[in-house]
Subunit: 457 residues, 2 copies
């Protein structure tokens, strides 16, 4: 592989693309894009200003424009597609794989998506509408409609002729198998392409195919698909509806890619980036607004937590040293709790714990909470004692941290399971929910323990 030299000719790259867009010569642009890697295309396109991006997609013919869309992330692709006339957008999207079409349409407003679908050819529009009814991480959402299917009474000759006559169309198909269906599109069997090489040309597919092949249901989950490909080393699996009608195929790469996307979303959600991905090439106001929408929820939660301090103001005024320990207790329990959240989310995604196993998780986390709570409580208590020479201060602070650590890890372990059962996204909600509760409890334990022994502090 040629060394990709990241960063070396960075500025030139998008400046060159930008200047080529201004020459209005699509052939030159395509020649340039063909020369650089998909990653460099993504980088260069992301650094263009919005007018140049729209101009780029308008200048290119739909096929070349689709190649650009395929190189960049779905979020960025959707942003670009949104700016085009629906007819033009439809022409570009039709050049993509069907799961990719749906991924991009799924990122758009319903009205925008619908306007684009209306401009597609009736067959493609029908398919897009059908595909959009499936959850994006189900077999139906991950399948592509670019597969080969034939009827069981067709012959090897029929297949070879069809492949020959539509060579160009099939050349782009990323499939190794050929599916056999009956008149009503019920899945009957499967053949490997190479199985066509040896038999007589007049052989019927019915006698060559493997009957009753492996299949997944359109509603099967990502975890089920992942398990399927772990168990069966195949290059693809047919997707059927409840009536065993063939709808599409899922490739193992699509499953791996979606798993990767899920972890990314998890990470971004956990860090407070919601409503899709953010790139710094997006307009400032859009980035600011989306980040603020999550932060303003946080203000409310923070007020809830801080109101505990307001309630105990007199205690705090009497022993101002406590103010130093309030954020320490709440921060440290928050960290302990987030560790438990991460372990639960990981075990959930690997299928190593079921959302119903609350007692198991509680037992595992509470016992760990006692251990770590004691260790951290003794440490912080000792620090407080050494600093102020007051054993009661040490007891209050250390005791509060110990108790709050038990609360935090127990809750942290349970919250993802509870959210999963409530069909909420654990990545998004776990951390702010946990932090609010551990802050409130942390402040409460420190200040209420202190008010019990106020005259000794």
């Amino acid at each position: 592989m040629e060394p990709l030299e990241p960063g070396k000719k960075l500025e030139k790259l998008w400046e060159e693309l930008s200047s080529q867009i201004n020459t209005d010569d699509p052939q030159q642009i395509v020649a340039f894009l063909d020369k650089i890697t998909p990653a460099d295309t993504a980088l260069a396109v992301s650094r263009l200003n919005p007018e140049e991006q729209t101009r780029l997609l308008t200048l290119l013919n739909p096929e070349d424009a689709a190649d650009v869309i395929a190189d960049i992330s779905d979020t960025q692709g959707a942003d670009l597609i949104e700016e085009l006339q629906p007819g033009h957008a439809a022409a570009i999207l039709e050049e993509l794989d069907s799961d990719h079409i749906v991924d991009i349409l799924g990122e758009l407003d319903e009205a925008d998506a619908s306007a684009i679908i209306d401009q597609m050819t009736p067959v493609e529009a029908e398919k897009a509408r059908q595909f959009l009814t499936y959850a994006p991480d189900s077999a139906g959402g991950l399948m592509i409609s670019e597969y080969l299917d034939f009827q069981s009474n067709q012959t090897v000759q029929d297949v070879l002729e069809e492949l020959q006559n539509n060579r160009e169309k099939y050349a782009e198909y990323d499939v190794q198998y050929l599916y056999v269906t009956d008149d009503n599109n019920h899945l009957q069997g499967v053949l490997r392409l190479r199985d066509l090489l040896f038999p007589k040309r007049t052989t019927k597919l019915a006698s060559l195919m493997i009957s009753n092949p492996f299949r997944v249901n359109a509603n099967d989950s990502l975890l089920q698909l992942h398990n399927f490909f772990e168990e069966h080393n195949l290059f693809g699996v047919p997707v059927v509806n409840d009536d065993s009608r063939l709808l599409g195929i899922v490739l193992p790469e699509a499953v791996a890619e979606e798993k990767h996307n899920r972890s990314t979303d998890q990470f971004l959600g956990f860090s407070g980036i919601i409503g899709g991905e953010e790139f710094r090439s997006m307009p400032l106001l859009a980035r600011s607004g989306r980040r603020l929408s999550w932060l303003s929820l946080n203000v409310v939660l923070n007020i809830l937590a801080a109101s505990v301090i307001a309630f105990y103001q007199d205690t705090l005024a009497a022993v101002i040293a406590l103010a130093v320990f309030l954020p320490m207790v709440s921060d440290m329990s928050g960290c302990s709790g987030n560790q438990a959240v991460a372990v639960s989310m990981r075990e959930l995604s690997l299928g190593l714990v079921r959302p119903t196993e609350l007692l198991r998780v509680l037992a595992k986390e509470a016992s760990l909470g006692v251990l770590n709570g004691l260790a951290l409580g003794i440490l912080l208590g000792a620090i407080a004692y050494v600093w102020k020479g007051n054993a009661f201060l040490g007891l209050v602070v250390g005791g509060a941290l110990a108790v709050n650590t038990i609360v935090a890890v127990s809750l942290g372990g349970l919250i993802p399971l509870l959210l999963k059962r409530a069909k909420l996204d654990p990545a998004l909600v776990s951390s702010p929910l946990l932090t609010t509760v551990t802050d409130m409890c942390g402040f409460f334990f420190v200040l209420s323990f202190a008010s019990l022994v106020l005259e000794k502090l």
Copy 2:
């Protein structure tokens, strides 16, 4: 696909495995494991107690034991392997793909790994030692040594005979290509397996092969491999050293899997789970100790931050209402900063920003910081003003949050780039580093602004 029915017969599953282990009948155990999915195997094995797990691997023959290891995560696999006699561990590992062997050896202590390698056959041991010299996310770390290579002067007949004679060995090879090398193992060309079907048996490979095929260097990074497979729709790529000697092949699945693992590590590290994955089936003390090691670093950072409050105790004692706002200002800026961290880490991993582009990130984040800082500052300032009816309190609190938000998002955006340049892991270090600084600065801004207008508060 048969419905997997998650959770339904959960308890029975591992209880049954456990009772079968106690019958000491390996054939019955294998029959049971063959019946359940890999995911259920992983779940059932993870719920056994350590003695049962070791017993399971000891009862099974190496090949069946290797199948179990392949179904569970590398971390868990390494934990199990560690408990076995090195000779037995070596026999099991030799049944795995070479990249998997290295993944598991890489999770062990160097001494343990070395003891196991010493028990391998000389050829496998040599290979393992060589493979371990490559970074786990480089082409060398992801490659497998299970590929077909022949000399350019061999004929089609030679290849077909070799394949025929070693049918069993090659049946497990997950490859579509055949590589052609010269006497010194220099990569010369590549052939698709199906290219062997049509030519005369006496044809030399040299005249059939595609010369100078695509290749990657053993030190190429995960991002480079990802870009390679994005650009070239291939089922594998040969890996060579600096002398163009063929070392192994990388499959696209391995790249997708490693990308997924990286995002998972990122997420776990970000949440304070370090030193490898944690599962609740691990011993309590090990889990507690590993979590504490990260938390104790956090204690030190928290003391640093809290010392700012200690320094300003008098100001705080004079205006106790400030205590309510201290955690709010530090929490909210921490959240804003973490959003910027997440965006930087995402852009880094997609190659959309280079670690050297500090000024670009600073400009993008600082401008967003001004916007969001103003919005949040005005909001919190208004809340403070309404609560206490003191405009100066509102100014102090709102001003501190505004300024600290600008600091937090700018730093949050830059930290991952700086850590990357310093070859530290951004996922692990970004968040605690950022939180400490934003806590310190938050406390400092609130209390120092307050001390400036103390008589008005």
